[in-house]
Amino acid sequence: MPDVTIPGLVLAAILVNNVVFAQFLGICPYLGVSKRLDTALGMGMAVVFVMVMAVAITWPIQHYLLAPGALGEEIDLSYLSTIAFILVIASLVQLVEIVLKKVLPALYQALGIYLPLITTNCAILGVAILAHRQQLSFLQGLIFAAASAVGFILAIMLFAGLRESLEQRDVPESLAGAPIAFITAGILAMAFMGFAGLGG
């Protein structure tokens, strides 16, 4: 197990290695659901839930099934981890969808197409894989997942706020909409590079 302090792990996951700004993971919900602040927050919450659950489920699978030597001296199933993780995460998202539809139909409506999108969200898969690549313990993995998701919320909330405000700005017609959103995202990512090397 690597020698990391919990605050270090959390700060690194939120700021330094922010899933969106530094790793460029989860770009599709980041761009797709950031038009309104409330849906952005809803999406962020969905990501928190799914991310933590994903790591909670994939960590034991990786550790007890797929890791080299987990099932026997000769067996190394680690080549299966990508496909296995996708499967597990996809079924998990189905579960979240069903629960949301029943419990919070308004949020379910607001998220629309984007909740199923988390199924194939690289941020979820990425964090699940990163958690075991960094050889984090189960608890560290969960914290890492939660912190990464908080990083995602931070990114998407900042971005959604900016995009809402862009609607009141005189953006040249040719750049209005998606183009200026990408430029804004780029400048935001640039600003977050200031955290590069933090704690390192």
Binding site: L162, V171, I183, I187, A191, G194
Partner: protein
């Protein structure tokens, strides 16, 4: 009894207007930057002047170019060019660059500031990020060697001066400048793996940069980092003209003092004194001139305080533990990004709203 009234204009109330205007504010800001510019020219010599002129001219030309590309009439272009906002960005950009900047670096910066930083969003009033800082961070990331080597000012021949003579003059003055900026020196000191060495380096730092020198400006760095005194003079002018209020700079500086002061109190040998942090680098420039940029800061008073504190804390964190010696430009850009949220969540309670009634 009746006289036929002449052409009467009918417009909506109010029928009076205050005297302040956008050009008046903008021209006031670059005027307030002049002391710092003079200090830079005084310390770095003619090279600083070249950077200042190049950046300002570059920004004005780039602004004209962008406005023309956006299809504005000549009249509108002329009005925008004379409103002073391009000059402000130009001078700010120059003050954020090292005197050793090659000419192309300055011009790229000017173009980035005016396009990416400003006109792609719709021009003055519409840009969410401070244009000069977008340019600085863009350059910092793209050309780190040119930007971080900010301290070293190689001897440059003045007009009608041989290069040998310039070198000699430089040697004479070398003790008045430093080869490294105080903050890069600090960064190196912190990064020493051996605690003993680090301690020694910090002690040396303290000898090399007496507080007084930091204050009046006998140090290396970007153009605008040299003289705290000159910056404070300019800031006073802005306060006096009511272009800025205390809501951003004061919480910002307090946050830096606190965040850098706490570790220093715990381990005075391994951390720099908070006053050192306050006076070095672009902190004062950022706090009084860039964080307070009205276009890119919150409009809610409480939001402004949070904005300032956020910038202060992030700056201090980057300085103390980050990979860059200076963090204020990153910090301001990040908080620029948070402005819509701050405006939304720190909205003042309306008159008579349940929450605020006493």
């Amino acid at each position: 009894m009746t006289e036929t009234p002449r052409e009467l204009t009918v417009t909506s109330s109010p029928h009076l207007a205050g005297e302040d205007s956008v050009p008046r504010i903008m021209h006031g800001v670059w005027l307030a930057l002049l002391p710092a510019a003079f200090a830079a020219v005084f310390v770095f010599g003619y090279q600083a002047l070249v950077v200042l002129l190049l950046a300002t001219l570059g920004c004005v030309i780039a602004e004209g170019l962008m406005l023309t590309l956006r299809g504005f009439s000549w009249k509108a272009v002329g009005r925008s060019l004379t409103d002073g906002s391009a000059i402000v960005t130009g001078v700010l950009l120059a003050l954020n660059l090292p005197a050793s900047s090659p000419w192309w670096l300055v011009l790229v910066g000017a173009l980035v500031a005016m396009s990416l930083g400003k006109h792609l969003f719709g021009g003055l009033g519409n840009n969410p990020f401070n244009p000069a800082l977008v340019a600085r961070v863009f350059l910092l990331i793209s050309f780190p060697t040119h930007m971080v080597a900010s301290a070293y000012t190689p001897p440059v021949a003045g007009f009608g001066e041989s290069s040998e003579k310039a070198a000699a003059r430089y040697e004479e003055q070398v003790d008045a400048r430093s080869y490294a900026t105080p903050l890069t020196a600090l960064q190196e000191a912190i990064e020493k793996s051996d605690p003993e060495e680090a301690r020694a380096a910090i002690a040396e730092l303290r000898r090399n940069y007496p507080m007084w020198h930091l204050f009046v400006g006998n140090i290396g760095g970007s153009l605008g980092e040299v003289s705290a005194l000159a910056l404070l003079l300019g800031a006073l002018l802005l306060f006096w003209r009511r272009s800025i209020t205390w809501h951003i700079p004061i919480p910002l500086l307090l946050a830096v003092l606190l965040t850098t002061g706490l570790p220093w109190l715990l381990a005075p040998d391994s951390f720099a004194n908070p006053l050192f942090h306050l006076l070095s680098g672009g902190l004062l420039l950022g706090a009084f001139f860039m964080a307070t940029d009205m276009v890119t800061s919150p409009v809610s008073p409480r939001g402004m305080v949070v904005f300032g504190v956020g910038i202060g804390v992030i700056t201090a964190v980057i300085r103390l533990w980050g990979g860059y010696p200076e963090g204020i430009s990153f910090a301001i850009l990040m908080m620029n990004g948070a402005v819509p949220l701050l405006d939304k969540y720190f909205k003042p309670a309306k008159f008579g709203a349940a929450g605020r009634r006493t």
